[in-house]
Amino acid sequence: MTFGIVVFPGSNCDHDCYWGLKHELGLSVRFIWHRQRNLEGSDCIILPGGFAHGDYLRAGAIAQFSPVMDSVYQHAQKGKPVIGICNGFQVLTEIGLLPGALLRNDTQRFRHEPVRLRIERKDTRFTHAYNGASVIELPIAHGQGRYYAPAEIIEELEAGQQVLFRYCDAQGSLGAESNPNGSLQGIAGIMNRPGNVMGLMPHPERRMNARVGGADGRALFQSIATFG
């Protein structure tokens, strides 16, 4: 399995993803510049964090029209895996591969801190390698991470069990105190109905080794690499 990391002007977590996949997990990985249409045989596409195109207009608004996104859209339509982390999640909602939108945090602040997440399902291609506890810790770093969708979409997401990660406390309970940005239902990460496209605001690529703060991000990539 080869991972392709899309690099937009303004991406800044692309190298963290590359390092984590290649050197921590020993997986095959390459960069894909946003102007190219060829995904170079990548099996899983990663849209990394950062500020693609300066977040001008809205986060992800301009990135959705980068030439590479046509190919990424087709890739997703074929049922192949695509994940968006932070800014990448914003791009996935803008292009319509995931429902909803990510609005300015209700605190009006850029939040950068470790948060606890409850893994809602461990039977998906993105989470099946999480064997241990259902509460993990990953860092967030965003100003616009408040997940929002109209009530009927939220209902659909819940009915389809498409919410994979929610902000929680150490015991796994939800609540306003553990929700860093005001996301509806404490939503931190979702997948599409077929289960091949996933977006999350926290950064698994920054928790790939206990020496740099934790290793709770590893199983997410391992899940994708060993699925099926």
Binding site: L57, F65, A101, R104, N105, D106, A149, P150
Partner: protein, 80 residues
């Protein structure tokens, strides 16, 4: 011609930026302010085709790129 495009968050969307500005106005003594909502204002110069209504294309630009219709509404004014 010039199009003046106003983009604002939909009424049911919490606008924390507007809320912060509203409380700052209250602190300054403008207690008559009941709500502030903050959006974007875009001016767009374009070449008009004679006899053709520019509005459909401008609306398309708003829907596709300038606004996110899941969370925002837009209003277009056209100046000659």
């Amino acid at each position: 011609m010039t199009a003046l495009i106003h983009i604002t968050p939909k009424p049911d969307i919490l606008d924390p930026q507007g809320r912060a500005v509203s409380s700052a106005l209250h602190d300054l003594g403008y207690t008559e302010v009941s709500e502030v909502r903050i959006g974007r204002y875009i001016t767009l110069e374009f070449d008009a085709t004679a006899g053709q209504d520019p509005r459909p294309r401008l609306e398309e630009m708003c829907r596709r790129l300038l606004a996110n219709i899941n969370i925002e509404t837009f209003k277009i004014e056209i100046q000659q």
